[in-house]
C-alpha cells in the first residue's frame, strides 16, 4: 500500500522548489531526507528542543511540528539559507567569539531562532534573549555563552 502523495511548490532559501511529498511527512523529514539539507537537526520530534527550528513566512517554528504539505505556497528558510546573509554572518562570528558552540548539535536551531529574535527586537537585552531562546535546548554550554553571543550581536548592529 503506497502512502498518499501530494505535489507542492514553495520557496526554499530564495529558490522555487517543486516536490512530491508524502502527505503525512513532516517538514523536517522533507528537508533532511527528501531534499538533503541536513543542517536542520532532529532532536526530540515533539517541539521541546528547537534543534529543528526553521523560518516560514518570516517567523520561526519547529519543522518537526509542521506537515511538509503545509509548506505549499510559503517562503521557507533553513540554516543553509543564512549562508550569505550579513546578519547571520555577524551572529556566526559572535557565536565563535563567545565560545557559544560546543558539540554544535543545537547550533543551527539556536542561530535560526536568534536570527528571528534579532529581526523582531533589534537590540534585545539579556532577559529578552533568554525568553526568545526558551524553546531551544543546549546540553553543553549552560546557555550563558549563547545568550552573551546573541546580546552582543544585537548590540553591535
Amino acid at each position: 500500500m503506497s502512502a498518499l502523495k501530494h505535489d507542492i511548490e514553495f520557496t526554499l532559501n530564495g529558490v522555487k522548489r517543486k516536490l512530491t511529498v508524502d502527505v503525512t511527512m513532516n517538514a523536517l523529514d522533507m528537508l533532511r531526507d527528501a531534499i538533503g539539507l541536513t543542517g536542520t537537526k532532529y532532536g526530540c520530534g515533539e517541539g521541546e528542543c528547537g534543534a529543528c527550528t526553521i523560518q516560514v513566512d518570516g517567523v520561526s517554528l519547529n519543522s518537526c511540528l509542521m506537515f511538509a504539505v503545509d509548506c505549499n505556497g510559503r517562503d521557507v528558510t533553513t540554516i543553509e539559507g543564512l549562508a550569505n546573509d550579513p546578519r547571520a554572518d555577524a551572529l556566526r562570528d559572535a557565536f565563535v567569539e563567545h565560545g557559544a558552540v560546543q558539540c554544535g548539535f543545537c547550533t543551527p536551531g539556536m542561530v535560526m531562532q536568534a536570527d528571528h529574535l534579532l529581526h523582531k527586537h533589534g537590540h534585545p537585552d539579556e532577559a529578552c534573549v533568554k525568553r526568545g531562546l526558551e524553546g531551544n535546548l543546549c546540553r553543553c554550554t549552560g546557555y550563558k555563552k549563547i545568550v552573551d553571543a546573541v546580546v552582543a550581536c544585537g548590540a553591535t548592529e
Binding site: M1, L4, H6, V23, T24, N26, G45, E46, G47, E48, G50, T53, V59, S60, L61, N62, C64, L65, M66, F67, V69, D70, N72, G73, Q113, H116, L117, R131, G132, E134, G135, N136
Partner: protein
C-alpha cells in the same frame, strides 16, 4: 481501519464545510499537535486530511460592534501582540505569554487550542472568564450555516467538545469589557517555558469600590475539562473583597475542583495550589 485517501486545502469557508459534510475529515490548522500525535500513532487520520490554512475568513482580529472577533487560525503570537487584545484582554495576553515557546506560539492557533479541548489548554481559562463564545460553521443543506455557543458549554471531556464532525470552528467572540473590568491569569508549571500547566487560574469581573461583581472564575488542569467554578463565583459575587471573603472563596475553590494524580502533580497538591493561588490572585485584584 479508515485510511487516509485525500488531502484537501480549501481556499474558502464554503469549500471547507462542504468537505466536512461526510464527517470523515481530520482538520489541520497550525499542526503543532496533530503532527507529533499522528506520527506517534496516537491520532489516526480519517479519510481526508483538510488543511484550513488558506481560508481567509478564519484569520484576523477585528472589532465587530461590542465584540472582539479572533479568527480560528490566529496564532498565539498574533494574539498577544495585537493592540486590541493588549488594550482590552490582559488575561488573554498573560496566558499567551506563558504558552509553550516562541516557535510554537508562532505556529499554534487559538482554534486548535480550543478544539484540542485539553483541561490544561492555556488560552481556554482566560477565554472562559472573558465570556467568549465559539462560532461554528457547517453546511447541513446546501448553504453555509453558522451558530455560536458559550465556550463554557463547549467542553464535555478531555479532548471532547460539542462540535460535531461536520462543523468547523471559525472564530471566538469576546465582549469588549467595560470600564472597571479586571481580569487576571495565573499559570503554575515547573519551568517558565514549554510546560503543561500543573494548575491555572482565571479571574474576571467588575471591580468598583472594593466590590467584585459579574464574577467569573475558571480553573485549568483540575477537572476533565477547563472548569468554570460557579460555587467560587457565587461566593464572591457582590461581596466586598476583604481578607475574609478572599479566604472563604479560596476554601470553596479548593473543594470545587476535582483534580487527578498524574506525572505533573498529585491531586492533593493541585487542590492546595488552587486554594493558595486563588487567594493570591484575589489579593492582587483587591490591592
Amino acid at each position: 481501519m479508515t485510511e487516509l485517501k485525500h488531502y484537501f486545502a480549501p481556499t474558502s469557508l464554503d469549500q471547507a464545510v462542504e468537505c466536512l459534510k461526510d464527517g470523515d475529515v481530520t482538520i489541520l490548522a497550525g499542526g503543532t499537535d496533530l503532527t507529533p500525535q499522528s506520527q506517534a500513532g496516537r491520532i489516526k487520520f480519517k479519510h481526508t486530511l483538510m488543511n484550513i490554512r488558506h481560508i481567509p475568513q478564519l484569520s484576523g482580529i477585528t472589532l465587530e460592534g461590542d465584540e472582539i472577533r479572533i479568527g480560528a487560525l490566529t496564532t498565539i503570537t498574533e494574539i498577544m501582540e495585537h493592540p486590541l487584545v493588549k488594550q482590552h484582554l490582559p488575561a488573554l495576553v498573560e496566558a499567551c505569554d506563558h504558552f509553550a515557546s516562541d516557535q510554537i506560539r508562532n505556529a499554534g492557533t487559538i482554534g486548535g487550542n480550543i478544539c484540542n479541548a485539553s483541561p490544561a489548554g492555556d488560552t481556554l481559562i482566560p477565554l472562559l472568564v472573558l465570556d467568549a463564545r465559539v462560532e461554528l460553521a457547517s453546511m447541513p443543506e446546501d448553504k453555509l450555516y453558522r451558530h455560536s455557543m458559550p465556550l463554557s458549554t463547549f467542553f464535555v471531556g478531555p479532548g471532547k467538545t460539542r462540535k460535531s464532525l461536520c462543523e468547523l470552528v471559525t472564530c471566538v467572540r469576546i465582549p469588549v469589557p467595560g470600564a472597571g473590568h479586571v481580569s487576571r491569569f495565573y499559570k503554575h508549571g515547573t519551568r517558565p517555558a514549554l510546560d503543561i500547566s500543573t494548575i491555572s487560574i482565571g479571574v474576571a469581573g467588575n471591580y468598583r469600590d472594593g466590590v467584585l461583581s459579574q464574577v467569573r472564575v475558571a480553573f485549568g488542569a483540575v477537572a476533565p475539562t477547563p472548569l468554570r467554578a460557579e460555587l467560587t463565583e457565587q461566593a464572591l459575587e457582590g461581596r466586598r473583597l476583604d481578607a475574609a471573603a478572599i479566604e472563604n472563596a479560596a476554601a470553596i475553590a479548593r473543594d470545587e475542583v476535582n483534580p487527578i494524580d498524574d506525572v505533573r502533580a498529585s491531586a492533593w497538591y493541585r487542590k492546595e495550589m488552587i486554594h493558595n493561588m486563588t487567594k493570591r490572585v484575589l489579593e492582587n485584584v483587591s490591592a
